[in-house]
């Protein structure tokens, strides 16, 4: 049918883009509350810096590298639609049959917000200790070399999409970004934590959150924004969006219960940090699956993710890497759990629904490809920057507080002001 702008869908996508943009400040609060009082502003700046930088990069070459003419199924040609010019098509048809469409510009906004949050997620792994300048350069490079290609591979007919080689086995499912966003960022966080090294005092000082209400508020804004992330990824105001909305909620809710249960059993007390972390773990895990499960199977997926992530966050103490705010334990583990469990739980294709192991195999494969791809790109960028600019601030500045050292500011008023 003739394409027409469906105002209802367009309204929902405008809202979704706004919601996802809000997630990065939400993340800044979530992460910022978890740092020590002397580092909260630096953490917020890593997030806000990502918004600023990627906000400018995205219309220049980000969109084109994600959705422009494909180069080998790996990334889009940055010059194809550079600056949203060139072959940029103003109308995005969403339903060939009915002709329902939205302005492509709305999609540009929506996609930009995903690029922003993904790189910001990584910041949590290297809190309190890295040069702001190195971080900003990293954010630009990593988004260009790791995020845009991954978005292209999964969402724009690239290697990991329905048109890719795995589709012969089964159509891979990544509804809203389990691979592109969470596995991608989680792996990058792990790699950087290793390259950057531990904070002074890691393992001996508790380094506990300085402001838990900020953490809870951040988790709440993340949840709120995630409705745009997941239900917006339906690209419609329809049954799928409604299902993704409900699944997002039930999975997050179940993950909180799962996480708190682990704490109750292991330590005797359910913590608010556990609740906040459980929310994020559940949201991460349901991200790739939000349109493929039922509300009830989403509860199962959420509960499993809550339990596994709650166990995973203590790994860093055992293995000795300083993933400061648990990007690995929550985003990498949660992203893997979600991506793989789809193979069991998908209403359409899941092992538990009698559809065999094909989907499961494909889901494991795309997770692996994402891990390897992100790992290699991040190692290369991370090491080059280590040599070229250096990652760490002076140890003395780390002790005194990175907010003062890197931003010449303190977060809260002191005695004589």
């Amino acid at each position: 049918m003739e394409p027409f702008i469906d105002t209802g869908i367009t309204a929902w996508m405008l809202v979704s883009a706004s919601l996802v943009l809000l997630m990065t400040p939400g993340l800044a609060l979530f992460y910022g509350g978890m740092t020590r009082a002397k580092s909260v502003l630096n953490m917020m700046m890593m997030c806000f810096g990502a918004i600023a930088l990627i906000g400018v990069i995205y219309p220049l070459w980000g969109w084109s590298m994600s959705y422009g003419a494909s180069i080998g199924g790996i990334f889009g040609n940055p010059f194809d639609q550079f600056g949203l010019g060139g072959s940029f098509d103003p109308i995005a048809v969403l339903n060939e049959e009915t002709g329902a469409s939205m302005p492509t510009m709305v999609d540009v906004g929506f996609q930009a917000t995903f690029a922003i949050i993904t790189v910001a997620l990584i910041a949590g792994a290297i809190a309190d200790r890295v040069k702001f300048s190195t971080w900003m350069v990293f954010a630009g490079l990593w988004t260009t070399l790791a995020f845009f290609p991954m978005a292209h591979m999964v969402w724009s007919g690239g290697l990991l999409s329905d048109d890719g080689p795995f589709a012969g086995i089964a159509s891979p499912i990544d509804f809203a970004g389990g691979t592109v966003v969470h596995i991608n960022a989680g792996v990058a966080g792990l790699v950087l934590a290793l390259i950057v090294g531990k904070r002074k005092g890691f393992g001996t000082e508790p380094m506990k959150p300085h402001n838990m209400p900020l953490v809870m508020l951040g988790a709440a804004l993340l949840w709120f924004g995630w409705f745009g992330f997941n239900a917006g990824s339906a690209y419609g105001a329809d049954e799928v969006a409604g299902l993704a909305w409900v699944n997002t909620t039930t999975a997050a809710a179940a993950a909180v219960l799962g996480w708190l249960l682990v704490e109750k059993i292991k330590y005797g007390k359910a913590t608010s940090l556990g609740a906040a972390s459980g929310i994020v773990a559940g949201l991460v895990a349901i991200t790739p699956a939000a349109g493929a499960l039922t509300p009830v199977t989403s509860i199962i997926l959420g509960a499993v993710a809550g339990v596994l992530c709650a166990l995973a966050v203590s790994l860093k103490h055992k293995l000795g890497y300083d993933d400061s705010l648990d990007v690995v334990g929550v985003h990498l583990v949660g992203g893997l759990v979600g991506t793989v469990l789809i193979g069991f739980l998908a209403t359409d294709g899941g092992l538990f629904f009698g559809d065999g192991v094909n989907l499961l195999i494909v889901q494991i494969l795309i997770a692996l490809v994402a891990v390897v791809f992100s790992g290699i790109v991040t190692v290369v960028i991370g090491l080059i920057l280590k040599a070229a600019m250096g990652w760490r601030i002076a140890e003395e500045d780390e002790v005194r507080g990175i907010d003062l050292a890197e931003h010449a500011e303190g977060a809260y008023e002191e005695i004589n002001s």
Binding site: P206, K208, E263, Y267, L273, S277, V313, S314, H317
Partner: protein, 112 residues
């Protein structure tokens, strides 16, 4: 003159203030502190690790008094702050050479 310093349980502050007031004390200074002693701290759970916080919140009260009143007023503080439980705190008396009231510049016992 003497300075009475008391490190007490925070929820006993109101009673100590009232008792001192009843005993004729017209001014005092309060600040936040924390401490440990026989009273153990508590355990917190944080991301897959339990650890011990040994410092327990306390309140410090300071009162400048005449030499003659010191022992008696210290008793007043102890009486008001006592709950009989571990962690009740300490009161100590130390010598002061001189006191000056900033507003007037007057010094000695008159400055109290």
């Amino acid at each position: 003159m003497k300075l009475i310093t008391a490190v007490i349980q925070p929820h006993k502050l109101d009673e100590v203030k009232a008792a001192l007031s009843a005993a004729g004390v017209r001014g005092l200074t309060v600040s936040e502190a924390s401490g440990y002693g026989r009273q153990k701290g508590h355990t917190e759970v944080y991301r897959g690790a339990e650890y011990t916080v040994d410092l327990v919140p306390k309140v410090r009260v300071e009162v400048l008094v005449d030499d003659a009143d010191a022992a008696n007023l210290a008793e007043v503080v102890v009486g008001a702050a006592q709950s009989g439980k571990i962690g009740d705190g300490k009161v100590w008396i130390s010598p002061v050479d001189d006191v000056i009231r900033v507003r007037t510049g007057a010094n000695g016992p008159d400055a109290l």
